[in-house]
């Protein structure tokens, strides 16, 4: 069980040979493959990160543009609202003026008609009073 013989050096040589062969066909190529994959992944990651930052920059830019456009539209809207208010006020004032003037005209007409009616009424009053006087006093006395 504990007998040492030529198996020992043969085994040692075999092991060194195995190390050498495995270094050639296992460790070197697969380590290279692993490192290359690491490099590839890292490269892709860097690339992707770059793209992401670029995209984020674009998004920020577009957001700025959108904000600008929104502000513009807001100002246009406000302008339009102000314009509309102005026009509204103007139109209202005009209409009120027109109404005022029409009302005045109407009032004048009414006044005129009133005066005319008063005049005709006075004449009629005169005539009627004359007739009444004539009837009461007789025609000779009146004249």
């Amino acid at each position: 069980m504990f007998d040492f013989d030529a198996t020992l050096p043969i085994m040692a040589l075999q092991f060194l040979l195995l190390t050498y062969i495995l270094n050639l066909v296992f460790y070197k190529p697969l380590t290279k493959a692993l490192d290359e994959r690491d490099a590839y992944v890292r490269e892709n990651e860097v690339d992707a990160r770059e793209r992401l930052s670029k995209a984020e920059k674009l998004v920020k830019e577009y957001e700025l543009q959108i904000a600008g456009a929104r502000r513009e539209s807001q100002s246009i809207l406000e302008q339009a609202q102000a314009d509309a208010k102005n026009i509204n006020a103007q139109k209202t004032a005009e209409a009120q003026q027109q109404v005022q003037s029409e009302r005045e005209k109407a009032a004048q007409e009414i006044q005129q008609q009133k005066e005319a009616a008063m005049q005709s009424l006075e004449q009629q009053v005169d005539a009627l009073s004359r007739q009444i006087l004539e009837k009461l006093l007789g025609a000779e006395l009146v004249r």
Binding site: M1, F2, D3, F4, D5, A6, T7, L8, P9, I10, M11, A12, Q14, F15, L16, L17, L18, T19, I21, L22, N23, V25, F26, Y27, P29, L30, T31, A33, L34, E36, R37, Y40
Partner: protein
């Protein structure tokens, strides 16, 4: 095995069936070699190389199948080395620590999962390569050489100054440590694997069906942990040699 011949009590008890210490000996010149260990180690090495070649012959950016699995293994090994050696110095040591882990892990699990008993050998039986003390001692000695190499290549001969710092009284202990490190590494791995196989073997002798299954599962778990520990400790020792200050001491 000589002692067992004298122990009639144990001999009548079926321990002999476990074939502890039997080897399938080959002769190469004047040297004898444990054939069953080499055969399984070749199978393990072949499996590892095949899996690696299959994983790396057609590398895709998006991994699938065997490539995915081996990349998972490689990342595990890299994390292991990184946690022991630090971000700066782990890269050149990944092959050594990783191969330690993979070889021990595949050996342990191969020994536990493959029914080697079905293959008849003239003597001895096929089992995990780490079941043999030669394998574990070889791996442990290589680890020692690796951390000496790490210290010497990093600091030159100044590495040996680390033996008398902070106080020279500790010099014998530090020299002793250099011997206990490979000893404990090899005996830990060897003992765990042999203990697993012995326990499973004894249980199979006592109750052949179903009862050994939880123990086998425990064995799988332990052998995986042992592979992890061997690799972790190798990393820790190398790191210690690179740093120079040996304040950390593990079993």
């Amino acid at each position: 095995m000589e002692i067992l011949d004298g122990l009639t009590v144990i001999n009548s008890f079926t321990l002999a069936e476990l074939e502890v210490g039997e080897h399938f000996l080959w002769k190469i010149g004047n040297f004898s070699v444990h054939g069953q260990v080499l055969i399984t180690s070749w199978l393990v090495i072949g499996l590892l190389v095949l899996a690696s070649v299959a994983a790396s012959q057609n590398i895709q950016r998006i991994p699938s199948g065997i490539q995915n699995f081996m990349e998972y293994a490689l990342e595990f090994i890299r994390d292991l080395a990184k946690s022991q050696l630090g971000e700066k110095e782990y890269r050149p040591w990944v092959p050594f620590i990783g191969t330690l882990f993979l070889f021990i892990f595949v050996s342990n699990w191969g020994g536990a999962l493959v029914p080697w008993k079905l293959i008849e050998l003239p003597s001895g039986e096929l089992a995990a390569p780490t079941n043999d003390i030669n394998t574990t001692v070889a791996l442990a000695l290589l680890t020692s050489l690796a951390y000496f190499y790490a210290g010497l290549s990093k600091k030159g001969l100044g590495y040996f100054k680390g033996y008398v710092e902070p106080i020279p009284i500790l010099l014998p202990i530090k020299v002793l440590e250099d011997f206990t490190k490979p000893l404990s590494l090899s005996f830990r791995l060897f003992g765990n694997i042999v203990a697993d196989e012995l326990v499973v073997g004894v249980f199979v002798l006592l109750v052949p069906l179903f009862v050994p299954l939880p123990l086998m599962a425990l064995g799988l778990f332990t052998s995986a942990i042992q592979a992890l520990i061997f690799a972790t400790l190798a990393g820790a020792y190398i790191h210690e040699a690179l740093e120079g200050h040996g304040e950390e001491e593990h079993g």
